[in-house]
């Protein structure tokens, strides 16, 4: 099992597009992936868009990511990278 804490860095938090990207990424792995809000402990299956959306994680929220399964190392790596890279949202603007 892998565990890591990341902070939601993109301005809009886990809104629909970001949530969709996260779930799509999670679905590429066989491991079980859970997200938990560090403040409230509320957890969600990263492969369920509804669960992710209902976390209502706005910018600045700390999330504890847990992965468990044969590809748990790659999975936690990919999920954390996606969240830390602000779901690729901010690069578009930096292009200017």
């Amino acid at each position: 099992m892998q565990r890591r804490t990341v902070q939601v860095a993109n301005r809009l938090g886990l809104h629909a597009r970001a949530a969709a990207k996260l779930v799509q990424a999670a679905n590429r792995f066989r491991s079980a992936i859970t997200l938990a809000r560090s403040d409230t402990g509320q957890t969600a299956d990263a492969k369920s868009i509804l669960g992710v959306l209902l976390l209502a994680a706005s910018a600045g929220t700390h999330l504890d990511i847990t992965t468990s399964g044969e590809d748990e190392v790659e999975a936690i790596e990919a999920i954390c990278r996606l969240i830390e890279s602000k779901f690729g949202e901010e690069e578009e603007r930096l292009g200017s």
Partner: protein
Amino acid sequence: MTANSEIILRGLGISPGIGWGPAVHSPWRGRVIFRRRLAPQEIESEVARFHKAVGIAREQLRVLRQRMEHALGKEHAYILDAHVLMLEDAGILGEIESLIRTNAVNAEWAVKLVTDRILAIYAEIKDDDLRERGSDIEDVANRLLRVLSGDRSTCAFPESAVLVSETLPPSLLGELDPQRIAGLILGTGGWTSHVAILARGLGIPAVSGLRGALAQIEDQALVLVDGTRGLVFVRPSPDVLQHYERQRQEREQHWIRWQARAPLPTMTRDGVPITIRANIERLSELDDLHRFGACGIGLLRTEFLFLQAAPELPSEELQLEAYRQAAEVAGRDGVAIRTVDWDENQMAALGTLHALRDRQMESESSEPWLPERNPALGLRAIRFSLRAPEVLKTQLRAIVRAAAFGNLRLVLPLITSLEEVEQVRHLLQTACRELRAEGIAAPDRLPVGVMIETPAAVWLADELAAVADFLSLGTNDLIQYLLAVDRDNDRVASLYDPLHPAVLRALRHVIQAAERAGRPLEVCGEMAAHPLHALVLLGLGARILSMRPRAIPLIKDFVRACELTRVREVVRQALAASRSAEVRELLLGSLQELRLELPDEALLNGSAPPVRGVS
């Protein structure tokens, strides 16, 4: 009320034209869901029916996503990714399935129960942006319910029918095939609402503001939508139908004639050349420039770029590419690019405001943002641009760079003081200097125009003309501010009157100020697209009119029929009138004397969309 009698409903015309066909109530709102108890042996087949519906809905979304990505770009299609994922969410599907089994209820009822529960959780979310996503859940649930009702088409819309709906949700906009809709009847939504803009762009006649009256339109009843006058006829009498059919034929003939003559130069009967330009809202409209015979672009709105990039801001490169395309299509005739014109509430709705507050307005971002109570008088247009100079500079840099590809001008919206113009000029110089320092060519001169659309700008017109290279009359906002009427509010929209004596006198003052200063003046509001109003503008001395492309052929033909010396005289008389009714009477009465002829309907509205409906 007998079952067969004609009913006439008066609303707000938000997209001109005539269409008729059977009424179809939107299945997206006000759906009544019944609960049915299942017999034990029915349960398995109900679960199977539910899963089949999910599969169909998913496939619909996949097709729709492709279509939306193609039409609106990747950034808009993402929302459908979330919809698809919801239909793949084992948690949601499992919960619905177990409800069907344990409660022995029909799939529709189970979908409703689960949706209501999720929406209740959503309602508790504190973050505004995240909470709004609840509408996506509703949208998906409605799609499922529609499929469950046995409706298998992505668009359940019959040929040439009239859509009746309280409002239109976003996914519906992308989904309906505009060719099939004869007309739109809406409960709410004003002239500048998203639906209205879309309907006008697609040429679908639409009437809004019929909130309480929608129930009077029964399903499948024949309805006629007159989007020009804002009228809806339910079960129109044979006389009414005949009248409109005659009008349709007349209109079609006129339209063929107008379009054939559109490429010809535009000159009044007494030889005064008039320039007719196009107002452009989206890049896809650039094709219309040549199709309808426009002489360049008198107003390129740039809000579409901000919409496209939301919630981020459009990059310099993205803007450059759009302006370059416009510059190349318009060629020598040129393009007037207006800096972004929207208000805080619109930006907040797209999420852009938050992006900005984080970056640009640090000093204010500690305070919570509250929706603007009076956006028309708030931080909008140039006020916003000057408050967020980085955003303005990016836009100016893109325009300056695009000027290498054509003949560009800059137009500033909602100016109320000389200082605002000077500040933009200063920023423009800085942008040019920086670009040159980066080794990028910047033109020596980029003409800067001032939109005259506030009473303050009217009374400063002489001074503004002195500091600007040209003036641009934005009649929509000018009339709104002069008459203190919000035309999006259907309860006061009828007070919005371009022929109000106060409007005529303000226009005269501005046009004369431009003449005194020797500056070109362009008119780029809706007024220019309306023959009767265009007559006033010409009579007052305007020589450059810019309008939505579809209105161009008609106005060109109208201008060619005008004898300007006589028009001037009629308008001189109209200026002395102290009531709108007198002005209107004078103008209408003079048409015969001016030897101007137009079909009845075109007199009331300048647009000429294709006529739809059963013929």
